[in-house]
């Protein structure tokens, strides 16, 4: 199959970007989207041109680094998978494909399709951790976790921090990401000691990082490669409002 690609090219964070048109000829539908970009890059290198810069690592939907926007949809037209899990069978020969970086003020473009998602790391630093004692390993199952809490916490913990929720959101909000991280730890006994400071710290960081607000369209949920539910956003809101309304706990 043959594809026509319109790819965002931007030499540096400060340079002006623009779309360049390339053709991917004789690619086959079994190839992944990133393999197709590899083929295009090989041609560019052979022609002494600068290859398209895109981020990737595991190529199996775990690391969350490969996100690009394909025809307006973060990670492309398939559901429940990252860009690396997108295959060309989702396209027809002759299709025109627009490939753009995730667009948000909090995600500045570094080069071409690569953005700096450090803002998400700084949200984690503001509270997305638990304090544990060091020393010898604790007994397994010494801390009991009710099954339904464990399952919900695991559903939230599936978040790979790829930023597709921010990219899909009409307001470039990081609500689904923050909600997943806050919920994951708030549901587990290990997360209780820092529960209040965590949600306050992470939400304060979200606001400091120039993300937008939630309008409950649910675009984030549709774009999420891990299918994380917007129900966690309601949980985040409840955690924050509880922290604001209830008095600090007395020992």
């Amino acid at each position: 199959m043959n594809l026509i690609l319109h790819v965002w090219r931007q030499a540096s964070p400060t340079a002006r970007g623009r779309f360049e048109t390339y053709t991917a000829n004789d690619v086959n539908e079994e190839m992944s989207f990133l393999e197709m970009l590899d083929v295009v890059n090989e041609q560019l290198i052979a022609n002494n041109q600068e290859p398209i810069a895109f981020e990737h690592d595991c190529r199996e939907g775990i690391c969350g680094s490969c996100g690009v926007v394909v025809n307006g949809e973060p990670h492309g037209p398939h559901r429940g998978g990252a860009t690396c899990q997108l295959h060309l069978r989702h396209f027809k020969s002759g299709d025109e494909i627009w490939i753009e970086p995730f667009r948000a003020k909090a995600f500045p473009v570094l080069k071409d399709l690569i953005v700096d998602r450090g803002a998400l790391d700084r949200i984690i630093q503001a509270g997305g951790y638990v304090s544990v004692r060091t020393g010898s390993a604790p007994d397994a199952n010494a801390v009991l976790v009710p099954k339904q809490y464990a399952e919900q916490a695991m559903n939230a913990a599936e978040c790979i921090g790829c930023g597709a929720c921010v990219a899909a959101c009409p307001n470039a909000a990081a609500m689904l990401f923050t909600a997943a991280k806050v919920s994951h730890l708030a549901l587990l006994p290990q997360g209780q000691p820092e529960r209040t400071q965590r949600v306050e710290g992470m939400v304060a960081r979200v606001n400091a990082e120039a993300f937008g607000h939630c309008t409950n369209h649910g675009a984030c949920e549709a774009a999420c490669p891990k299918g994380i539910s917007v129900d966690f956003i309601a949980r985040l809101n409840r955690e924050l409002l509880k922290a604001a309304v209830l008095p600090p706990q007395e020992p």
């Binding site: 307006g72 627009w98 003020k105 909090a106 909000a173 937008g212 309601a234 409840r238 924050l240 409002l241």
Partner: protein, 238 residues
């Protein structure tokens, strides 16, 4: 207090303020609808309700005091709702300085897309509605006095003003048209308020959208009954 200021500065806090004020305004819509459906019981019953509103809390409160408190509360809620939305939109406009070339609106509904412009349309419609039936400035035959049980009150003749107002077909048509953005705003707003205030539970989550739809259609549909009854001659001046 510092905590309240801090919360207001977060987008979640502003959203919570919008949810609470939205629910207050929804409470008014319910009360206003129930009161105005008394138009079907005739001029006596309807004006009794209108005069009763001014005498609410009698004899403990002075005339119109309860009404004044409710009106001030509603104005405060409406102002906070609008201030919050403009501040939030400014934050979000700055959050995506470069737009996508190929846009894709994942999971959007017509109601969720129309929240802002539909909301502004509603605000304009409400001002026109106030000028029409509360202040009388946009009314062709507004009566500022009402006779009830032989006593003349210096209040508007609500029944006469409502019925004669809606006997003008294009006025009734505009009013009916305004119920469309109202229903859409209530549908997405109510569901959205549940999310914002953290009202969710796996057992009830799938009922939130249908419940919001029932409330939205119920309220907008209820308001539609009044001009329709006037236009069809079911409710007449005398």
């Amino acid at each position: 207090m510092t905590k309240a200021c801090w919360i207001w500065r977060t987008t979640i806090g502003k959203k919570a303020a919008m949810a609470v004020t939205g629910v207050m305004l929804l409470g008014f819509l319910v009360g206003h609808l129930l009161g105005n459906l008394k138009v079907f019981l005739g001029p006596e019953a309807f004006n009794h309700y209108a005069v009763g509103l001014r005498h609410l809390g009698d004899p403990f409160l002075p005339e119109r005091a309860a009404l004044l408190v409710m009106r001030l509360g509603l104005i405060a809620a409406a102002v906070l709702h609008v201030v919050a939305v403009f501040q939030l939109r400014a934050v979000s406009a700055a959050a995506r300085p470069v737009a996508y070339t190929k846009g894709h609106k994942l999971n959007f509904t017509p109601a969720s897309s129309a929240m802002f412009w539909g909301g502004l349309t509603l605000a304009a419609s409400i001002l026109a509605h106030l000028a029409h039936l509360t202040w009388g400035t946009l009314h062709q035959d507004f009566r500022h006095e009402v006779v009830l049980n032989g006593i003349t009150y210096p209040y508007a003749d609500a029944y006469h003003n409502l019925v004669s107002g809606f006997q003008v077909p294009w006025v009734a048509a505009l009013y009916l048209l305004a119920q469309i953005p109202l229903a859409m705003h209530l549908y997405h707003g109510l569901w959205s308020a549940c999310q914002t205030l953290g009202l969710n539970h796996p057992k009830y989550n799938h009922w939130r959208r249908p419940a919001a739809a029932v409330v939205a259609i119920g309220i907008a549909g209820g308001y539609c009954l009044i001009p329709l009854a006037v236009l069809t001659g079911l409710v007449t001046l005398n």
